[in-house]
C-alpha cells in the first residue's frame, strides 16, 4: 500500500517546504516526518513517496536514508535506547551501563526485545560528556546513570 500523510502531517509538510528555497533541502526534515508517521522506520514506500513529492530520484533519497544513522531501514522496537560509549562516557562507566541494559533486556546491541518494546543500540558522543554516563531513550536524555537509575527508567517504560 502506498504511503500517505494525514491531513495534519500534510500541513507540516507544506510548512517544512516553505522554509527552503528549493524542494531538495526539505529531504531530511520530510524523511523525519515520514519516519515518525510510520512507527519509526523508512520503508521503500516512503522512499518512493519522498522522491515523488520532492521531485528527486529514488536513488538520491535512498542515498540520504542510508547515509544517516538515525533513519531506520527496518521497524525498531516501540522504544529506542542509545547508550553513549565514547571516551568521556567510557571513563565514567558506560560499559557497565551497557552491560546492565543487555542483561536487563535480554538482548544484544542492535537487537529488539521479543515483545517488540525495546531496541538497544550504542551511540557515539551525544554531547552530554559532563553528565556521563548517559543514554537517550526516544527523545529524552537520561544522564549521570547508575544501574539502579536504568532499572527505574526501563521499569517506567515497560508499564506504558
Amino acid at each position: 500500500m502506498a504511503f500517505v500523510l494525514s491531513e495534519e502531517q500534510e500541513r507540516e509538510f507544506r510548512e517544512i517546504l516553505s522554509r527552503y528555497p528549493n524542494k531538495m533541502a526539505a529531504c531530511i526534515p520530510v524523511l523525519h516526518l515520514c519516519q515518525a508517521a510510520n512507527a519509526n522506520w523508512v520503508s521503500d514506500d516512503i522512499v518512493a513517496f519522498v522522491a515523488e513529492r520532492l521531485e528527486l530520484s529514488a536513488a538520491h533519497v535512498k542515498g540520504v536514508v542510508t547515509f544517516y544513522s538515525l533513519f531506520n531501514r527496518h521497524p525498531p522496537g516501540k522504544h529506542q535506547i542509545w547508550v553513549c560509549r565514547t571516551l568521556s562516557c567510557a571513563l565514567k562507566g558506560s560499559d557497565a551501563i551497557l552491560e546492565h541494559c543487555q542483561r536487563k533486556l535480554g538482548v544484544g546491541v542492535g537487537h529488539t526485545t521479543a515483545d517488540g518494546r525495546f531496541t538497544l543500540r550504542t551511540a557515539e558522543c551525544l554531547a552530554s560528556c559532563g553528565t556521563a554516563p548517559m543514554m537517550q531513550v526516544d527523545k529524552t536524555y537520561y544522564e549521570q546513570l547508575t544501574p539502579e537509575k536504568v532499572d527505574r527508567i526501563l521499569g517506567g517504560l515497560s508499564k506504558d
Binding site: L31, L54, L70, A90, L91, A123, E124, C125
Partner: protein, 448 residues
Amino acid sequence: MLKRTDYLTKNYGKPDGFGLTAYEAAGGYRAVRRVLSMPREAVVDEAKKAHVRGRGGAGFDCGTKWSFMPKPNGKPHYLVINADEGEPGTFKDRTIMEQNPHAVVEGCIIGCYGIGAHACYIYVRDELHLSKARLWGAIREAKAKGYLGANPFGTNYPVEIYVHTGAGAYICGEETALLNSLEGRRGEPRLKPPFPAQSGAFGCPTTVNNVETVAIMPTAFTLGCDAFSQLSELHSWNDGGVRLFGVSGHVKRPGIYECAVGLTLRELIYDLGGGIEGDRPILGVIPGGSSCPVHLPDEIINVRNNPKFEPYNGKSILDLPLGVDTFRMAGSMLGTCCAIVLSDAADPVIAMQNLMRFYKHESCGQCTPCREGCGWLERLFDKVVEGTATMDEVDQVSDIASNITGNTICAFGDGAAQPALSFIRKYRKNFEDYIQNKGRSQTGKLTL
C-alpha cells in the same frame, strides 16, 4: 588566569531562564537594536575588534569571516549556524541552546545583518530534541514581539531564522558537509575552493558560524567590541573576550564554566573541576575535543623564536593559557575548549581503541585514505588489546596515520590521525606492554 564571568550563563539553571522575559531582564535584545541602526560595514569592523575566535574548533576570527562575504550582487546571502555538536568531550553548545536560546537568536540577527543575509538556518543534530524545541520556542517568542520577520525592531531589514535537523552523522559538523546536508544531500564534505563565502548554501554566499560564536556576539556589542576583547588575558594575541570551558572525564566536578579567555588547563581541572577523582595523578589531558593531541601533565613548553612565548617557556602545558594561537604554537590544538581528563586509573591503550572506533564509525567514506586508514587503525588497536598484535604493527600506526594526514578533502582525516599519533608517541610503553604480555595490562580499563 582564572576570571569567571556569566554573560552567557547568567540564567542557566533558573526556572524559565530560557524565556524571553528572563533574557530581556538580563539586558538581552539591546545590542541588536544598536547594530541595526549602524551601517553594515561598521558592524563588521566593530565585530573584528571583538577578536572572537571561532568556537567550533578551527578558531578563525568571526569578524574577519564576516568580512569575506561579497557585496550584494543579486544572489541571496545565508547565515548558517553549526549546532551539530558531537566532538567527543564537547557539550557546551547544547547548554546555550537549552538554557539561553535567545542569545543564539539575537546573535543570528546581528550576524545576518553583518553579512547581508535575510535567512539563517541553525543546523542542530537530530538527537538534541530539547535544544531544537527551545530554539523554535525562542524564535516564536521573538517573532511574536516583532524582533524577527519582515520588520525586526521596526526596521526594513527582514530576517527569518529556521531550525534545520540532521539525522545522525558526526561529519556534518564539518562546514561543507553541513551545507550538503542542509541542501538535502548526503553529508559529504566539499572540495574547497570555492569557500562558503563565495558559494555555500544553495550556491549562494554563506557564512557558517558555531553556536557559541554567534551567541557571544550580543555580549560583545553590548560591552563594545574592544572592551569585550580586553576581558581576555590573550587580547594581545587577538584572542578576545570570554568563552565556555568544559571539562569531563575523571574530575570531581565535570561541567561547563564561563571564563575570560586565558584560563589554563590546571585551573580548569583543579579550580573549576575540583581536581581528579580520588585525588589521583593525571595520566593525560585532551585539551579541546578528541581530535586534539593528548598531553602528559609534565610536558614542558619550549617555543623559541617568539618573544611573546617567553613567559610560558619552561612551564607545564597545564599552565599555558588556553588560546587558539598559544596552543597551536605549542604544537597542540585548542579545539572546542572542552577538555577530557584521564586519571592514572585509565588505560591509554583502551582510550585509543575507544577513540579510533569513533573515527572509524564516523568517517563518511568519501576519501580512501580516511575510510581505509581509520578501519586499519581500528583493527590494529583491537589486535593490540586482544594481544595478537606484533611490535611491527605498532610501528605501522604512525605510517598509516601520516598517510591520512593532509590527503583528504576535509579535516576529519587529520582529526582521526592526530590522536593516534600522539597516543602512540606519549604512551608507547603501554602499547609495548600489551604486545609483550599478550594483551594483559596493568589496568585494562578506563574507569576508576
